[in-house]
Structure formats: structure tokens, C-alpha cells
Symmetry: D2
Amino acid sequence: MPKKSAQPAPATRIAPAITNVLAERYASPAIKAIWSPTGRVEIERDYWIAIMKAQRSLGIAIPAAAISDYEKVKDQIDLASIDARERVTLHDVKARIEEFNGLAGRESIHLGLTSRDLTENVEQLQILRSLTVVRQKTVAALLGYAKRAKQYRNILLTGRTHNVPAQPTTLGKRIAMFGEELLAAFTRFDELSARYPARGLKGAVGTQLDQFTLLGGDAKKVARLEQSVLKHLGFKSALGAVGQVYPRTLDFEVVSALHQIGAAAASFATTLRLMAGQGLLTEGFQKGQVGSSAMPHKMNARNCERICGFSAILSGHVAMTSALAGHQWNEGDVSCSVVRRVALPDAFYAIDGLLETLLNVLNQLTVFPKVIAAESARNLPFLATTTIMMAAVKKGAGRETAHAAIKEHALASAAAIREGREPGMVERLAADDRLGLDASAIHAILADTGSFVGAAPAQVDTFVDTARATARKVKGASSLKPGRLL
Amino acid sequence: MPKKSAQPAPATRIAPAITNVLAERYASPAIKAIWSPTGRVEIERDYWIAIMKAQRSLGIAIPAAAISDYEKVKDQIDLASIDARERVTLHDVKARIEEFNGLAGRESIHLGLTSRDLTENVEQLQILRSLTVVRQKTVAALLGYAKRAKQYRNILLTGRTHNVPAQPTTLGKRIAMFGEELLAAFTRFDELSARYPARGLKGAVGTQLDQFTLLGGDAKKVARLEQSVLKHLGFKSALGAVGQVYPRTLDFEVVSALHQIGAAAASFATTLRLMAGQGLLTEGFQKGQVGSSAMPHKMNARNCERICGFSAILSGHVAMTSALAGHQWNEGDVSCSVVRRVALPDAFYAIDGLLETLLNVLNQLTVFPKVIAAESARNLPFLATTTIMMAAVKKGAGRETAHAAIKEHALASAAAIREGREPGMVERLAADDRLGLDASAIHAILADTGSFVGAAPAQVDTFVDTARATARKVKGASSLKPGRLL
Amino acid sequence: MPKKSAQPAPATRIAPAITNVLAERYASPAIKAIWSPTGRVEIERDYWIAIMKAQRSLGIAIPAAAISDYEKVKDQIDLASIDARERVTLHDVKARIEEFNGLAGRESIHLGLTSRDLTENVEQLQILRSLTVVRQKTVAALLGYAKRAKQYRNILLTGRTHNVPAQPTTLGKRIAMFGEELLAAFTRFDELSARYPARGLKGAVGTQLDQFTLLGGDAKKVARLEQSVLKHLGFKSALGAVGQVYPRTLDFEVVSALHQIGAAAASFATTLRLMAGQGLLTEGFQKGQVGSSAMPHKMNARNCERICGFSAILSGHVAMTSALAGHQWNEGDVSCSVVRRVALPDAFYAIDGLLETLLNVLNQLTVFPKVIAAESARNLPFLATTTIMMAAVKKGAGRETAHAAIKEHALASAAAIREGREPGMVERLAADDRLGLDASAIHAILADTGSFVGAAPAQVDTFVDTARATARKVKGASSLKPGRLL
Amino acid sequence: MPKKSAQPAPATRIAPAITNVLAERYASPAIKAIWSPTGRVEIERDYWIAIMKAQRSLGIAIPAAAISDYEKVKDQIDLASIDARERVTLHDVKARIEEFNGLAGRESIHLGLTSRDLTENVEQLQILRSLTVVRQKTVAALLGYAKRAKQYRNILLTGRTHNVPAQPTTLGKRIAMFGEELLAAFTRFDELSARYPARGLKGAVGTQLDQFTLLGGDAKKVARLEQSVLKHLGFKSALGAVGQVYPRTLDFEVVSALHQIGAAAASFATTLRLMAGQGLLTEGFQKGQVGSSAMPHKMNARNCERICGFSAILSGHVAMTSALAGHQWNEGDVSCSVVRRVALPDAFYAIDGLLETLLNVLNQLTVFPKVIAAESARNLPFLATTTIMMAAVKKGAGRETAHAAIKEHALASAAAIREGREPGMVERLAADDRLGLDASAIHAILADTGSFVGAAPAQVDTFVDTARATARKVKGASSLKPGRLL
């Protein structure tokens, strides 16, 4: 029986520890609580206690009083003390075992476990809980898209391909389009969340040998021990034949699913940045936010830029986990250790920060309908050429003749714009006898904007319905409020 | 002295086209047929014809004779002619339209379509069909793992962590472990395959405006047109609100799913390379294969190395599609064009080549049980220390005393090995009075190898059952035969 | 109704080989000649002949007539025959040895060489020659930037940060800015080109054992053999202690240097796409190019998009070579083989296609000065606030008072714009007594555009000088003409 | 004049801040001092003071007393106070300006600067100083390789390709081989270090407009201000035509140079892991390190695994900076902001942690010559077949006959090994009349091990000389001692 742990000398703190910028600047309390050193120790201690209880119920000689002694001290988390122990043993798990044993004055945890029986499952639990947080926020974002899509369902907008005006759409449809991208990413993510499997209590090389030894070679007891612990953790499924570690392709799967969500948001953010550059909208200011002092009217899409930045970061975490995938040596090694210490929490901080930012953007977005309308008015004569041609044909013009006439005027009008003159497209068309349409006829065509947007409003409706149906299945999504951004 | 080769005709200095090395060296006919220029033209022409028929049935004035004229010539695929047309128009779709129109003497295809209405759906169909091929081969590989795992279910093997001996396992369990990794990758892949959605006939900016115009503004007809075409293509679902293009995160999803499969195989291949280096097995030779002429006995795991190489290539395709994800501008642009021309077919060639190689390795794998047994014999005295300690305790030794004694002998035996002497572990243990075990008692413990492998054989059985159940759902998987490797 | 096309011969169902799309659609003849299978065989045969000559001169018994027999047939390159041989031996090098021996009726090549003595050096030679091509084109592009920067040196342009108007610059300066980025990439590339080292003739594990054996253990002869061959190849330096292969981090270095060049060009292309979206310029049309038929005036920046696409592709090749870096096992393995077959030629095709496209864009770029001027006129009142404030202060206004007044008007004017009204910024300022500036005073300030662009014109001059000085050191750069794009 | 800053309310600290694991677990004090928030503030304040002095010397009205007031308080760095300010202003630079002004009771810093004039140059200075640290440690590692290469110069080792025995080499040569890879990476890195250019004081869009305004439009003064500040920072060169930011391809260049160093080390570490798995060596234990308690003799190459892990992390930072490269919009945006906050410090922490680990491995490496010799003895009869054949030919055997005989025996011996029998290669050869060599003749051949290693020892010498010559140019490299690892 070990002595109560000696109190480590108070750390001399010459420099404050360097903080994790993703966690401390951008991530929300919910995700930080899962991945913080303290949060991890909490999860570990719960896990150890759950195992002791299960082992005791299966006949292992662990006194109830010992379990109780651990429970009494489990909230006494002293990271500095653990750190000091690790600097002696150079073994992080051993340091945390000693600390917990020292606090409880017992040695009953971690029986028949290897380090990886602890760390693999604890880290998978951190992932599982993080998936729940991300799931909720992603659906909250889907609702945000739905709300905005509905709000702007019928606002005529100059649709662009190659970044130049192409055909009319509506602002709501454009937002629904990006919502649809996020929805596709969510679908994949949701499948993963639903089946994310634990490694389980598999021992040093995956054969469960130590639990077999501990439980007298009784395969059923070994299975019951694992099942009861995984149930406690909240896992719905477990891997069967694993080695020391669960397959690292699973980390790649998780991180690439996060990246897909982040990239879907980044497409939206990129387009908002384009639109802000044309003055069509602004992502909005938070209360108290200071813009450029030299140019107080300048409204920078800095949150949208940040979303794109997070997406770039996640692409790096994809690369890190991709670098681990496919490199398992035998039953496992720890080349992955430092990588996973970085890539897993950081990927969750990044996606969390991204979603927080996205939710704020969706909340604060301010559109300028007059500017949007002015853009449409400039472009509509060009965008409506097909409709005008068909009107001309109805009036008796030959199709090829009408096409040639319109092409001629479109080119001339475009050339005028490029030379700094008024396009005069309507006037040119009205003056052309080949078409047989006067100015009022053409203006009437252009005024019927509803006829230019095809299925756009209907697509908005379908998207909104789907987003809402999705949200009904995800608890807390509809009431989720993002934090204030830094 | 070799015979003179027949003189080839002097090379005409028009250089032959540079071939795609992934396709021509490694990919199977099935996948090449989908992605070859010829294969693509076939798909396109079928697609155009299907649309004409659907349009005609919805009242568009396309003569039945016109459709018939296209059908007559659809197999006349002359890539050189198409290429020549493109070098004039500098527009690939236009070139292929003109070619098909020219052959049929008609102008009825592509009505109300934009280029992307063609290319997006055709490429998605190439992807959909490729997913089917990959799905079948992946399951064939799972069956290959299952067969080998069953075959070697009970062969005792030195399990390794950190690449050094750790605990015993069985060879079958090791193979099942890698099978389990592939199974996890397959599960994800299968979810994607089951729901891979088409963009559909959405027009220039996604509003279906041109089909609305063509079909007299009748939304129901527009929907029926799209549905009938997608059904023809074999898609089970379609995206709703899209722009000019389907979201590029979907390409990232596809390619990262392929990479996950490839990386799972690469973990297996990496470990085979390690085992081949220890002489435990060989990936086998194909008939006619020439090894090193200088060292004829040298059996290189070059196919396993190739699997790892394919996985590295796929990580590059992940990076390419990741570079597109999150970068949609408005309703879409063509920054993605050249990337998708490369990354999509090449990713499928690579995974196909990888799976072909893996299937060959699984077929030809040859293990050397005697060498494996010799390795186990060397390591077992070290690996069995826990069991020996417990036997000593049963004989009356104190636990701590026994632990200390065994540690002493293990360190001494290890030191002996490192100095080139015999470890003598058994002799050391037998000579130590603290343990109370003689040599025959210790040999008896070591001989009971079944007791060292815990749940390994049972895990094999579970994996085999799962693999077979999976295969029953995938037509053709169990009878699939890989091609001969280059 | 189009004319019937000539009937092509019915396709023989042996499918044509799938071509490499990067090579065949985008790359120039110069780079294709280096990496084509034919080009490679040419290089190999030259290399073998050079070695035979060097070996003969060092006393190895190779008859002069044998060398002469090889020289006679070295241009008879029959890829189909080589391919057929490889499908028998399953060993690519052996197939090419047999083919060359067969043609010459001799067996004197490849004496004392291992496969890697051939392939490593041949591939490095392909790289070295490709570096020369890329170097020349990059400098040609620098000259293109310089020409355009000079041409537009003094055109006032609304500089943007966060994609919104920030401060004035000049169009020439913006182009020089991107030129500066390419220049930095070139500097790094040039350092690499100057020292790119060959592996040399190092034998199976790098000890040169086989050449030692062949040359009677004479270290000096071994060194002379290697030196004379490397000199023949054109390498300026060689690696010393290598294994079977040269370090794969060197491939990463090459490809990341190419990516840096490509990304520098992509930054420029991205900004051109933004500017095209605002109607400020167009990348131009090639003769015969067909734009959108529905919207004939639409000028898409598709070449600029393509440049961005190539950059994304190169990021994938960076990932592929990064996946090889750090993974050398012992003296080497061939996990890298298939990766390098893909990543090396494809990276060079991609950068070559990118530079060809960039050179075309630089040639065809058409700016619309009137549109640029109109944008400046809209933004200048906002951009000139600092100057206006200082003028007010000179007239006696308090600094803080002036700042507050201007801020008020800027916000009001911006609000007006967003509500679709005229900003009226000048009028607002002129009407404010706190500033003491009338409309003509303010117009005078705004008209003095030269005072808003700071060092921009001078920076253009410096860049132009540097680009020209660089070009003087690179033969052929200033006269290089890009090919016609597809 | 602002009031002294009000003391922010003491932060309620429910959870301790989450620390950066790369910095706090792995990085050395030297690199942490550069990138810590405190270190950054120090650099910034020095930078501001340097600019004030330069501005004052050029005639700007900044009182000497103001500068002195700043100097007095510059070491009072209160991160919590800065943090509290940022949470109000939502602008990090503004928060730090206010804090410094508040401490000094002045408002003279940051005159005519934009945020990026501060942050770009400060961050580049962090990079420049970090390059110096990395440069020194890389050269220290080169010396470590050199020392070990020399030490093991003549130890015969079984060289391996495809991970199977191929040809003999020496252990020193193998180490020199990896040293050569690091040397190549260093060469590139050193070129970059020597020319790493600063952005300079270029203003909001790169035109230096604000400094022009401040310095009365005097271009020479503007240039002198920039030069004096850059000289103060220690930069040897500056970029000319830039925008708001320096080109982000430069970040890619830096990080990819770090990755190249890290990957070179990872190749070495990978091979040590392979060798440890064969029992040939151990990376060593640090004092106090606890191995596996269950298997006390187990010596895991966990530091080598960690080196590989760091390399994987750096590949992720390459991906992050690659995701920024090529995406500059106009004069710049801040999509890069969060990415650079993560990727730049983390990449330096990772390479620093990697090099610290590598230096420890090089110090603690322990080889087992007897085990190495036993491996050679097993393999030598196979590896020496060429030499044996030539001896037989000298004795009168026909070359083809000898080759066939040896091949026969090699295959039989290899088969014997695979079946668990003694190879008996020497006995087989000695018994074959076709060769004319008795056992003693063959043993004599095998004993002459020096003849099997070709140029290996000479290559070691050349590498050692180069490493030492390199070290003489880098101050502090030869005396550098790594820290103790966690």
C-alpha cells in the first residue's frame, strides 16, 4: 500500500504555459471541457472506477471500501502534481495511476489493463462526446441556413458562374445551395456518429490475455466485463479483432468527416466574401467590434475569412491523420502518439470554432436588397436574352434571325460597358426591327422577374423542410445559441 | 548471345500519346472501361439519347427518326475526330456535340442543357459505376482475409508492439485484425455507395430555368424529366438546391473513402513487409516472375510495397480534392475542372490497382510455420513471465518475491542475447529456489500455448462470420478473380 | 443541319490506351519529350552507352564493335515490344535490357549495374532536364509580369483588403506584387536547380560493391567511372553516402519547389478572377475560342481558373512526395516506385501546363481602364479621408473634430450606398463647416491621384529591373513563346 | 493623453487554460521564448520603440520623454489584461496598443502603421529567430550522425533492400547515409535562412502611403525608415512590391523546409525501429525511464517513433500552409490569420521537439555488435555468392556452370531455412565438384569481410568531413546539448 502522495513543491512559474490558441481563442466551453487535461483526468477516473466495479461484480477481489476511497478523491485534480510525477517516471499513464492511487491510498485501479486499454478508450470517448457537440452545432447551422433561405426566398439575385453574371437566381436559393452542401456533409457525419465503435478492453496485443488471466480464463466473464464498461461509456458498438490500438484509419475517418463539414461552410463563407466585395451584404458586426479606424465604414468579412481559415487548418489535420493511416506495424506502435495528441483535440477545437463562427455569421448577416436589385437591373437585359428571343419568335421573328440580332446587341452593350458608357441594351433591342419588340414590351419581360428564377423558390422550400426535419431528430439543435466571438 | 529482334518499323516522329501509368500498368479492364475516353463518350451518348426520349415523351418536338439516327451511330466513336474538333472550338463539350450531330446528321441532342448538365451527371455516373466495382473487390478482399485468418487461426505468433515482442497472438488473429480495419473502411464506403446522389438536370445556375423554358414553365414536367433520366442512370437520390455544379465536398468524400480502404490495406501490407524481413512469410511469386538474378532466393515483398505506394498516391488525391473543397465561388466555377480530370479517374485507377494487388497477395501468400514457431520459442519464456509468476505463487512463492526474481532473470537473459550468448531463461528460472518451479514445470507452462492467446481464435471466428455475411450481400464478390499483375 | 461526318472505321474493340490527361491536354512538347516512354528509353540507352564507353576506357573487356552495334540501333524504340517483354518477365528494367540487347545482338550493357543504378540516375536526369524547362518558362513569366506592370504602372486602382476597398494603388503595382511572389518562388527554385545532385553509380545498397568487383577493387577507377558518367549526364554534384536509392526527401524538395511557383501564379490568377467578376478586365479570348452561346458577351476567366486548378493538383503531388519522405526502410525499398511513376512526371506536366497557361494569360490580358476609373471614382472619397482630414487641419480644423466629422459622413455615405442611394460623400463633406473645405477644394484633393499611390510606381520600376536582370541570366527566356491552349 | 489603463477585473478561472501540447511537452525553452505570448509582446514592444526612434530621427514629433516612458514599462507584460482588452475591442492589435499606451501613459506608438505593418514583421522576426535555432540544432544532429558513423565505420552489417538481406554494408555507412539525407535537407534550409526576406513597413495595401503622408511625401525618408527598422530586426533583405501581407508561399517555403529536415530524421528513426525489432540495437533509456512493468527487458524505440510522429505532424503543417498558398485575394485578406496562428508556431515547436528527440537518440544509441555479427554470419553465405562464383571461375569452373550451381544451393539453403532447418550453404557449396572450392576456401572468402563493403568506409569518412566542415560555420552547434525528454 503506497503512502499518500507527497505534495509536490509548488511549481516555480517563470513563464506562463503556452496556451493552445485554437482552444483558448476559438473553441467553446463544451468542447474544451472534453479535451482539457482536467476533463481528460475526469473521464479517466470515471472509467477506472467503472472497471473496478465491473471487475468486483465479476468476482475480482477489490474491496468496496477501496472503490469508495477512489470515488471520494476523484475530483481532486492537480495537474501540476501529475506533471511532476511524469517528469520522474517519463510515462504519462503511470504518473496518473500513481496520482490517483496516492490520493486514495489504494492500489486497485488499472488491474489487468495495459496503458492502451485506458488511453484508447478514453480518447475514443472524448471523440464520441465531441461528435455529439459537433452534431448539434451542425444542425443548428442547418437551421440558420434554412431561416435565411426562407427569408430571402424571392429576392432576385444575379447568379454567377466563373464569377461573372450567368443567369438569375434568388438569394434564398443561393443560401439553400450552400445549406444543401452542409446537409450532405452532415449526412455522412451522422452515419459515423451513429456507429463510432470502441476498441474495448483488449489488452496488450488485442487478445484480452490479461483479462483472461485475471478472470480465470473465463471467456464469458471477459466479454461481460468489456460490455458493461462500454455500455457505461455510451458506445453502441465495439471492434472485434484489434491489436494494441484501434485502426488509425478510424481517426482519418473522423477528421475527414469534420473537414467535410468545415469545407461545406467554407464554400458559403467564400461566397459571402465575394458578395461583401461587391457591396451586396455584410456578415455584420458584433456589438463593440472595432472596424478599421482609418475607414470606419469598411465592413470586413473577417469572420467568413476565419471560417475559410479553419477549413485550411482542418485540411492539415486530414493530412496528419492520413499520414498515420496505413502505417500500423504489427499489433501497433506509438508513432501515432504525438500526432493524435495534436490532431484530434485540435481538429475538434477547429471545427467547433468554425461552427461557432458560422452560427454568428448566420445570425448577424445583413443584406442590402437595394444593392442586389441594382446589380440585377444592370445584368437582367443580358440574362434575359433567351426569354426575349422567344418573345420575338412569338411575334413572328425567325429564330436564327432573332438570335443573331440579340447576340449583336449583347456584344455591343457589353463593349459599351467596358468602355465606360451606358450599355443601352434595352434601347438597342427596342430599336431593332428584326425583333418586333418595343421598349415597353421588353421592360415588361424584364419586370416579370419571377419567370427567371425557375425552380429556385421551390428548391428553397424543399431544403427548409429537410433541415427542419433533420433538426427534429437532434436534441438541443434548435435552441442552441453560439458564444460571442473574439 | 540473344537472337536479333525483328526490326520494328522506323518510328514515325509523331510521338505516341503518353499513357496514364495508373490505368495502363495497374488498373483492371472494368475500371478502365468506365473512365477511358471511349467509355465516357459511350455514357454521354446514352445519356443524350435518354434525355431526348424523355423530352419527346413530355411533348418536346423531337422526331422519333432523329432519335433513331443517333442510336444508329452511337457506337462510332472516333476520338481523333473529336480531338480535332476541340482544337478548333477550344470547348470539349461542343466538340463532342458536333461530332455526334455530325454522325447522325441531326441537331436534337443537348436541348435545354448546359455543358454541366451533361458533364456533372456523366462524371457522377462514372463515379457511381466505379463505386460498384470497388465495392465488389473490397468484399472479395475481406473474404481473402477471412480465408487466411481461418487457415492460420491457431498458429502461435509473437505479437509485437513498438516492433518488439510483446505478447503471443495467432497469425490468424493478426490477419483478422487487418481484416477488421478493412471492414470498418468498407462500412463507411458502403454507406456512401448506397446514397451517392446525382446533381441532376439543374441548368446553368441550378434553377432549371432552361428546362422550365423548354417545357413551358411546367414544374411537374421539369421534375418528371429529371427523375426519368436519373432513374435511367441508376441513381437512387438526387441533390435538390445545387448551383452549376454539385458540391465539391462530395468528391472529397468519395476520394477519402477510397483512401480509407487503401490505407487499411496498406497497414496489412506494411506488416507483411515487416514479417517478410524476419523471414516469417513471403507474399509469393507469380508464375514467370523474375526475382533478383544476383540473389535468386531473395523474395521481395514488392507487391506489398506497391500497395503502400498506392496508398501514398491516394493520399495525394485526398489532398487534391481537399484543395477544391470549400472553394465554391457563387454558383460555381471551373477551377475544379483540370483537378477532377486528374484526381477522379486516377483515384479509381489507384484503388483498383491496389485491390487487384491485394487480392493477388492474399492468394499467393506463403507462410513458413517453422520459422514462426522458432521465433515464438525464442520469445515465449519472456512473454510467459506473468503465467510463470502465477504458477510460482500457487506453489507458495510471495507475489513480490516472484516478480523480483523473474524480472532479474528476464533482464539477465535479455542481456545475454544482446551479448551474443544463449538467453538460458528457462534454466535461470528453474535454478531459482524463490520460484519453486523446476525445468519440466516451466516447459509444461510454455508448452500450453493455447493458454497464451486469449480470445484470439474466437475473434478470428467472429471476423470470418462477419466477412461472409457481408459478402452474401454483394453480388459477384465471392467469385471475383483478380487479374495477373505486371 | 450539319453535314454528315465522314464515317470512321468501325472501332476495333481493342480499346486505345488511356492517355495521361495532364501530358496530352496541357503539357508542352518539350516536357513531354523528357517524360514520354520513348523519351525515357532514349535517355536510358544513351546512359548505357556512356557507361559502356567509360567502362571500356577503364579496362573492362567490352569490344568497340559491341558499343557500335548498340549505337546503330538505339533509335529503334518499339514500346509495344518492350511492353510484351515486361508482361513475360514482370520486371521492367529487365524487359528494356533484353530489348536493347536483342536489337544489338549483344549483351554488354548494364555490366555491374543494379536496376536502381539505371533508374535512379535516369529519372534524376529527367528531373534535371525538366528543371531547365521550368526555369526558362518561369523567367519568361516574370518578364510577362514586368511588361504588364510597366504598361499599367500609373493606372489608379482601388486596392482591396478583405476584398473591400481599402486604399488606392496602381494596376501596375498590383501586377508587380504578384510578380514579386513569383520571383521569390523562382529564387528558391533556382538554388535547387543549381545544385540538384545525382545519386550516381552506387550499386545495390550504395557501397559500389559491384563496380569494385568489376574494376578489380580499384577505388580510383570506381570514382572515375562515376564521375565521367555524371559529367556526361550534366550533373554538377553527386550524393556521397546513399543506399539503393537517393533520399526521397529530394523528390519532396523538387515537387514543393514546383508547387511554390504554381501557387505564386495561382495568387495572381485568383485576383484576376476577382477583377473579371467586377468587370475590370478580362483574361482575353484566344482566336477561335467559343464562349457561352447563350451569353456571347460573357468572358470567363477560365484560363485563370485552370491555373488555380493546376496549383491544387500540385498540392496533391506535394502530398504524394511528402508521404514518401521519412519512410526509407534500411537501404531502400520500392514503396516509392508507383508513387514516383505518377507524381514526378505529373508534377512536371502540371507546372508546365500551368506556366503555358500563365504565359497566355499574360499575353492576352485586356484591361478596361474606364471601368477601373469608374470604380476608383466611386471609392476615392472614402479612400481619401486621411488626406481630406489633413487638409482640414491645415485650414484650421481641430484634428479630433475633423476626424469625427469625416467619420460621420463616411458612415452616412456608406449607408446611403447600401440603401441604393447616391453616397454624396463629397457634397456632405463640403457642406460641413467643421472642415472648412468647399466642393472644389475636395475635388482638387481627389483629382491629385498621384498623391494616393505612395511608392507604387517606384516599386514597379524596381520589380521590372529585377525581372529583366534575372532574365538576362536565363538563356531563351526572353524569346520564349507559349503554345496555343486547348 | 489617455488615462492609465484601468485594471481589468481578475478573471474568474474555473478551468486552467488548455496548453499547447507541442510547446509544453516537447519544445525547448529557446523556441518557446520566441513564440510564447509573452515573447511575442516583448518583440512587438521592441519593434514599436525602434520605429518611434527612427521616426523621431526623421523629424516626426515624438518626444524623447514619451519614448522613455515606453521603455520604462516595456517589461510589464500582463497577458490577462491584454486578453481582457481584446474581449472588449475584438481586435488583438488594438488591445496590445491600448495596453502599452496605458502602461506608458502615452499615445506615440504605431504612428502611420497598420496592423499588418506590425504583425507581419513581428511574425517574420519570430520565424527568422526560429530559423537560427533550428539551424544550430540540425547541425548538432549532423555532428551526432558523424560521430556515430565514425564509431561504427567498420562494423559489417547486412544491408537490406525490400527489408530483406541484399548486400553487406557497414553500420557506420548506414548512419552516414541518413546523415547525408539530413545534410541535403540542411543545405536547402540554409539557403532559405540566409535570404529570408522581411515584408517591411509597407502600409495598408503595400504602397507605403501612410508613411509617405507622415514623412511629408519624402520617398527617401520612407526608405530610410524602413531600412533602419529592418536592420534593427536583423533582416538582410526585404521584399519590394508587396500588398497588405508578404506572399504566403513564403510560409509554405519555410514549413516545407522544416518538413524536409524532419522527414530526413524520420527515415533514420524508421530504420532504427526496424533494427530494434531485430534486436540489433536500442535507442537507449534515459535515466529514470520506466519501461513496460510486465516486460522489464523490453526496450521500445519510443523516441524514434516520436520522431516519425513529429514528421507526420509537420506534413500536416505543410498541408495547412499549402492551403494558403495561391489564395491571395487582391492586396490580401485574413483567411490566413487563424491558420498562421496555428501552423507557424506549431511547426517550429514540432521540428524543435523532433530535433531534441533526435539528439537524445544519437546520444543514447546502444548497438549490440554480437547480434549484428550473428545476423551477418547467417546472411553472408547468401550475400557473397558473386564473390564465390568468381573464385570458382578462377579455379577453372565455367561461369555459367558456377552460376547455376550456386543458384541451386542458394535456393536449397533458403528453402531449408524456411522449413526450420540449418541452411548448410557453405557445406553444400563445398560439396559441389562443379565449383572446385572446399569448405576452408569458402570460409576464407567469407572471413574477408572488408572486401564486401566496397566504398562504405570511405563514404563514411567523406560524410564526417563534410559534417564537421558544416559545423565550423554554425556557431554553437558543436557544443549544443539537448534537453531531457519527457
